[in-house]
């Protein structure tokens, strides 16, 4: 409209920021914190941050699938709790093999993910409502199984799932990298991924093209259940305790990671690397705020403002032409 465009209005800048904006924000953030506290970028702290974000990152990938189809998965927090108490039952109470226990526990969360998917896809119910309800149900089940009590998971083998390392790299980072690669391929290089975007972009068009919307959606929530389950295994190994009260409000950070990573709530837009970057940013916010001695009351606010700011920036840069 105006004759002379400011630099941030040029197409080149917009294209660049649209694609890499989130990365630029991250680098800027890291730079600022590192100048104030050089220890922030010591390798040990970088490994530390990456280890810390692994749980949120896995949850966020599942959340991203749900959001991309136009829904949301609020039940991820209780899924962590479910895995945790099941592992407690299997490993501690029944003395079962660790591998088998994990598989069974993951099967349970995957099943609940699938139930979410069926309710949402088959009966066309709002994802927010369905997962709000299953959130309550799953939490209840976890409490019933554990009788509301915590249980120590002393086995070193089990604890090593979190605290082990591979060539010096903590295992949670390895899991995160492996799953990131898989998610990248699934979302961007498979038919399923394509269908996820198609369903989220315009569900009627997807139906008319013969995409099986039911299975696409159901699978997204199933995967979200599985990933939340894996996150739960890591969590349980990390705290060495099987408990039913964990994971409260974990969906918040997962959603924040997705949003910072450019996932659109309208559906149909997201990228796997974006989600990873989003999770890293959240990790840096938490870690960085602690390094910068930001008072705890201000931490929530900082997080909230960064979320708004990031989305706002995204809006301004990728401004809809109207």
């Amino acid at each position: 409209m105006s004759e002379k465009k400011k630099f941030y209005q040029t197409d080149e800048f917009r294209m660049f920021m649209g694609k890499y904006g989130i990365g630029v924000i991250l680098i800027f953030m890291i730079f600022v914190i590192a100048v104030m506290k050089p220890r922030f970028i010591y390798p040990s702290n970088i490994l530390n941050v990456l280890t810390q974000i692994s749980v949120n990152c896995l949850i966020a990938y599942g959340m991203c699938l749900a959001i991309t189809t136009g829904g949301i998965d609020l039940s991820v927090g209780p899924q962590l709790a479910l895995v945790s108490v099941l592992l407690g039952q299997f490993i501690v109470v029944r003395n079962m093999n660790i591998g088998l226990s994990i598989i069974l526990a993951l099967a349970a969360t995957t099943l609940f993910g699938f139930i979410n998917g069926v309710l949402i896809a088959k009966f066309n119910m709002a994802a927010f409502v369905v997962t709000l309800a299953t959130q309550l149900v799953i939490r209840s089940i976890a409490q019933i199984i554990s009788d509301g009590k915590g249980m120590s998971m002393a086995s070193q083998a089990f604890k090593d799932i979190y605290s082990g390392t591979l060539i010096g790299v903590p295992l949670p980072i390895i899991y995160m990298v492996v799953i990131s690669v898989i998610m990248y391929i699934v979302m961007h290089w498979t038919k399923f991924g394509r269908y996820v975007f198609a369903v989220g972009g315009n569900v009627n068009a997807a139906i008319a093209s013969g995409v099986d919307v039911f299975w696409t959606k159901a699978l997204c929530y199933t995967i979200s259940g599985l990933l939340a389950g894996i996150a739960g295994v890591i969590f349980t190994s990390k705290t060495g305790s099987a408990q039913s009260n964990i994971g409260v409000a974990y969906e918040t950070d997962a959603v924040a990671a997705c949003v910072l990573g450019g996932t659109s709530f309208a559906g149909g837009i997201s990228t796997a690397p974006g989600v990873l970057l989003g999770a890293v940013i959240i990790g840096c916010i938490y870690n960085g705020m602690n390094f910068l001695n930001i008072g705890s009351y201000y931490q929530y606010m900082t997080k909230g403002i960064i979320i708004i700011f990031a989305v706002l920036l995204d809006m301004v840069i990728n401004k809809k032409n109207r």
């Binding site: 498979t190 013969g210 837009i269």
Partner: protein, 504 residues
């Protein structure tokens, strides 16, 4: 009645939506290699039958046969696998996918389990190159215009190598060149033995391209005829069940003072537009799709920005920041995009009709609901909206009836200037004539009417004056007299649209 002469046999199909019986025991028989027209008024059940064939909805009763075998579908994928594809009446783009991704959705090129994006783009580009299009395989769908999206849908349906292609109003947003392009494709398909079911409200097209025609009326089957020897009037009376009088009921009314005037208006897609409309005048606007007609009107109505230029209403300069300010001043517009800008389908007909008219119908802060109900009822009746009650919601209406509801909104508003963008898009012959009559009535009351239409006969039949657009500029003005005197013919206007017309 299985008959190997036919590729598709539908017999005794019935379908009800809640209380409305959309189809009652209808039949349709299509031969291989023919273009079979399906005709009927709005709400006759054409799209419904086609949705049954493609598996989007399931008929309550009745059987179908395809290529001699019983045919049952559970969803579009079954239809596609059997060799049937469809171009839908409502455009359905995948905004964030590329052209290639959307054309080959569900038919992706893969290597192992991974997508082969390169091969797919190449394959898509080959298909696109066969059509003369200005976008390529990696263009995002959201960057395309309505007409371009329509072309992609056509290309998609055609590229499925189907043996039966259903085209539900494929030309409703195409202009004459693109329509011609489509007809080329249809002829080519025909020669390969592909059967086509062709649904359109534009009679000329039916006569140009179709071999046989089936007519539906009110959800029932009327007859099937060969196009040879059938006349236009015959078809219309089969469809409507009554005689539709003159095709364009234009009455000349007294043309008064200038009501609305624009000077040197410029915007993103139009430049230097100047014109004026008078009370009682119908100003037609012709042009190719994408020539900037809608953009001009959207800008005048305040939906799009204006970069420069002036507007005058009754001699006073005005600006419209948004539609609200335009409506307040008495400028109203029926948008071409009914689904997005016309109706809230979830809400009742009454609420839709009264929406722009609420400010005047309040008692203090509270709405006068009795008056609202009564006025909406009258407006709906005047436009013969076909619905059980005005409390039913927009979803239950056929496309044509939705269009009437949109018009009814603005009847109540009683504007000074009424802008109609494709007022009869997707409207059947009977309703079209109703709408035309209504336009004349409005004009007679002293309203100034601006009408955009891509149907040349409509513009020529209804307008007191015609502006012709070419690439965002006015390339010519024609008076009604010139048309009546046969000084100007359809061909001349077309030439102006293409700017081949040299005024010497």
């Amino acid at each position: 009645m299985s008959n190997s002469e036919y590729i598709l046999n539908c017999d005794g199909i019935s379908k009800a939506f809640g209380g409305t019986q959309a189809l009652k025991d209808v039949q349709l028989h299509v031969k291989p290699g023919e273009v079979h027209a399906l005709l009927g008024e709005n709400g006759a059940g054409k799209s419904t039958l086609m949705k049954c064939v493609i598996g989007l909805i399931k008929q309550d009763s009745g059987t179908m046969e395809f290529e001699g075998k019983p045919y049952q579908v559970n969803g579009p994928i079954d239809a596609l696998n059997s060799g049937i594809s469809m171009i839908h009446q409502e455009l359905n783009p995948e905004p964030y996918l590329t052209v290639a991704e959307s054309i080959f959705l569900k038919r992706e090129n893969t290597r192992g389990i991974l997508l082969d994006k390169k091969a797919q783009n190449k394959r898509c580009q080959e298909v696109l190159d066969k059509f003369d299009v200005s976008y390529n395989a990696t263009t995002k769908m959201k960057e395309l215009t309505l007409a371009q999206v329509q072309m992609v849908e056509i290309i998609k349906a055609v590229s499925c190598d189907s043996r039966l292609i259903i085209m539900d109003e494929p030309t409703s947003s195409l202009d004459s060149t693109e329509t011609e392009q489509l007809f080329e494709v249809i002829r080519d398909l025909k020669s390969k033995g592909v059967a086509i079911i062709y649904i359109s409200h534009r009679m000329e097209e039916i006569f140009e391209i179709c071999d046989r025609v089936s007519v539906f009326r009110n959800g029932t089957y009327v007859d099937t005829k060969s196009m040879e020897g059938v006349t236009r009037d015959e078809l219309i009376s089969m469809m409507v069940g009554r005689d539709v009088k003159s095709v364009f009921p234009k009455v000349d009314c007294k043309i008064g003072e200038t009501v609305f005037k624009v000077e040197n208006l410029c915007g993103d897609a139009f430049h230097d537009i100047s014109f004026e409309v008078h009370a009682g005048e119908i100003l037609g606007i012709a042009g190719l799709v994408g020539s900037g007609r809608s953009e001009t009107m959207r800008a005048i109505f305040g939906l799009d920005p204006i970069t420069s230029g002036k507007m005058y209403l009754e001699g006073k300069e005005i600006t419209n920041k948004n539609p609200r300010s335009a409506i307040k001043k008495g400028i109203c517009m029926v948008n071409e995009d009914r689904k997005n800008y016309g109706l809230c389908l979830l809400r009742s007909i009454r609420e839709n009709i009264s929406l722009p008219n609420l400010p005047a119908r309040q008692k203090g802060l509270i709405l006068n609901q009795k008056r609202e109900k009564q006025e909406c009822q009258e407006a709906a009746e005047k436009l013969t909206v076909k619905a059980a009650s005005i409390e039913h919601n927009g979803f239950s209406l056929s496309g044509g009836n939705q269009q009437k509801v949109v018009l009814a909104k603005w009847i109540l508003a009683n504007p000074k200037v009424l802008i109609l963008d494709e007022p009869t898009r997707g409207v059947d012959v009977g309703a079209k004539s109703d709408i035309h009559t209504l336009m004349c009535e409005f004009a007679a009351k002293g309203m100034a009417i601006i009408m955009i239409s891509s149907e040349l006969p409509e513009v020529m039949g209804m307008s007191d004056r015609i502006l012709v657009y070419h690439e965002g500029r006015i390339s010519g003005t024609i008076q009604r007299k010139e048309i009546l005197d046969n000084h100007i013919t359809q061909k001349d206007i077309l030439a102006m649209e293409f700017a081949q017309h040299n005024k010497d």
